[in-house]
Subunit: 216 residues, 2 copies
C-alpha cells in the first residue's frame, strides 16, 4: 500500500470515522450505507466512498459497510494494532489529566512511564504509571524503545525537551505545549494539539449565530 | 456579510492563519505574498486567495498581504473582538490546566468564574478566577450573561451539566468531555475537542513512516 499519496484531509477524517463507527457499534448498528453514514457525519456519500477507496475495497455495492469490519480496517490503518509505546514528559495538571483520563490503551498505546522534575512527584505513580526524574529520560530512551512522547512540559522548556527526545531517537512527539517545534533535520514526527483552534472555531460560529439573530 | 455559505474547511483554517500571522508578526515580517504564505502553511496560493475572498478584499494584487492588517481582519471575523465571556465548569486537572495556562484573554475571552463541587476548591481562586459551588451555576447564569461554557467535568456528568447550561441560555459549549453532546432543539452551539483525533493522526503518520522504512 502506497500511503504517501493520501491527502492530509482524508487522514484527518479517519479518526472521525473511527469515533462514529464506535458509536454505531455501541448502539447495535451492524451495517450502514455510505448515504446514511454521510448524513450522520455531514459528508457526501461520494466523499465517503472516495475516502475509503484510498485504502482498498471496504464495502460491497448495494450492501453498505459492515460496521465492525470497517472499524477494524480503520483501526489497522491508523496503526492502533501496532502496540505503540508512549511516555509522558511533564506531569503538571495537563499531564495528570492525560494520565488519569485519556485512556491511551483504548487507542492501542501503552503508556510506559512519565517524567517530571518535581521531588514530590518523582517515585510516585499516577493511574498505575511510574513517574521518574527527567534526568533519567535520556538513559531510559537509550535502553527502552519508545515510539511516542507526549510533551506536556511548560512552554519555556518545550524546545529543549523536544530536541533531547528527538536526539534520543523518539519516533514522534504529541505536542501539547502550544509551541511550534522546530526539529529540522530530524526524523521525529510532530503533531501539535492547539486548543485555541477549537475555541476560535466555536467563537466564529457564535459570532455568525449572533449576526443572524440581528445582534451585530 | 452573509457568512453561512462559508465552508467548514475554510473556517477551520482561519485559526491556523491567525497563528501563522502572529508568528510572522513576532518575527518582524510586515508583508507576505500568498505564495510565500502558502509555502509556509502547505496550502496553494490560490486556496489562500480563495479562503480570504470569502470575507472581502484583503490584499492588493502584486503587493501581498499586510501581516498586521490581515491578522486584525481575521481576529475580527473570528469574533475575538466581541469581548465574549466564559465560565469553566469542572476544576479537575484539565480545568486547572486550562485556567492556569490557556490564556483566554489572548483570544479575546474573559474567563469570569469557575464551578466545581469539591469543598476544598469552592471559595478559592485559580489564576485570579473565583471557584463557586456548582449549585450556584444556574443562578449565576440567570444573573450574568455568559457566552461560552468550558465543559471539563467528568464524562459521566457531561450530559446533565450540558443540558443545564443550555436550558439556562448559554450560547456555546466548548466540550472537553469526549462525550458527543445531544442538545436537540437547543440553540446552544457545541465544539468538541477530541484529543484522540490528534493522537491517531500522529499514529497514522508514524505507521506510514515505519512502512516506508521497511519495518512493516
Amino acid at each position: 500500500m502506497k500511503r504517501s499519496k493520501i491527502s492530509a484531509n482524508v487522514i484527518r477524517r479517519l479518526p472521525r470515522y473511527l469515533r462514529k463507527l464506535d458509536d454505531l457499534a455501541y448502539h447495535g448498528v451492524e451495517r450502514i450505507s455510505s448515504g446514511e453514514l454521510g448524513k450522520q457525519m455531514s459528508l457526501t456519500p461520494s466523499q465517503i466512498r472516495q475516502d475509503f477507496s484510498c485504502f482498498g475495497e471496504f464495502g460491497q455495492q448495494g450492501y453498505g459497510y459492515n460496521v465492525e469490519a470497517l472499524r477494524d480496517e480503520i483501526a489497522t490503518i491508523l496503526g492502533m494494532k501496532r502496540g505503540y509505546s508512549a511516555i509522558l514528559v511533564g506531569v503538571g495538571n495537563l499531564g495528570h489529566a492525560l494520565m488519569e483520563n485519556f485512556g491511551f490503551a483504548a487507542y492501542g498505546f501503552h503508556l510506559k512511564a512519565a517524567f517530571d522534575v518535581r521531588p514530590d512527584l518523582v517515585g510516585t505513580e499516577v493511574a498505575g504509571v511510574s513517574i521518574y526524574h527527567a534526568d533519567q529520560l535520556a538513559a531510559y530512551l537509550r535502553e527502552d524503545s519508545v515510539d511516542i512522547a507526549v510533551l506536556a512540559v511548560p512552554r519555556r522548556f518545550a524546545a529543549q525537551v523536544a530536541r533531547m527526545l528527538s536526539e534520543n531517537g523518539i519516533g514522534a512527539i504529541w505536542n501539547f505545549t502550544n509551541l511550534e517545534l522546530d526539529l529540522d533535520n530530524s526524523k521525529t514526527l510532530v503533531e501539535n494539539i492547539h486548543f485555541s483552534d477549537s475555541l476560535l472555531t466555536l467563537s466564529y460560529y457564535l459570532t455568525e449565530a449572533r449576526e443572524e439573530d440581528g445582534e451585530a
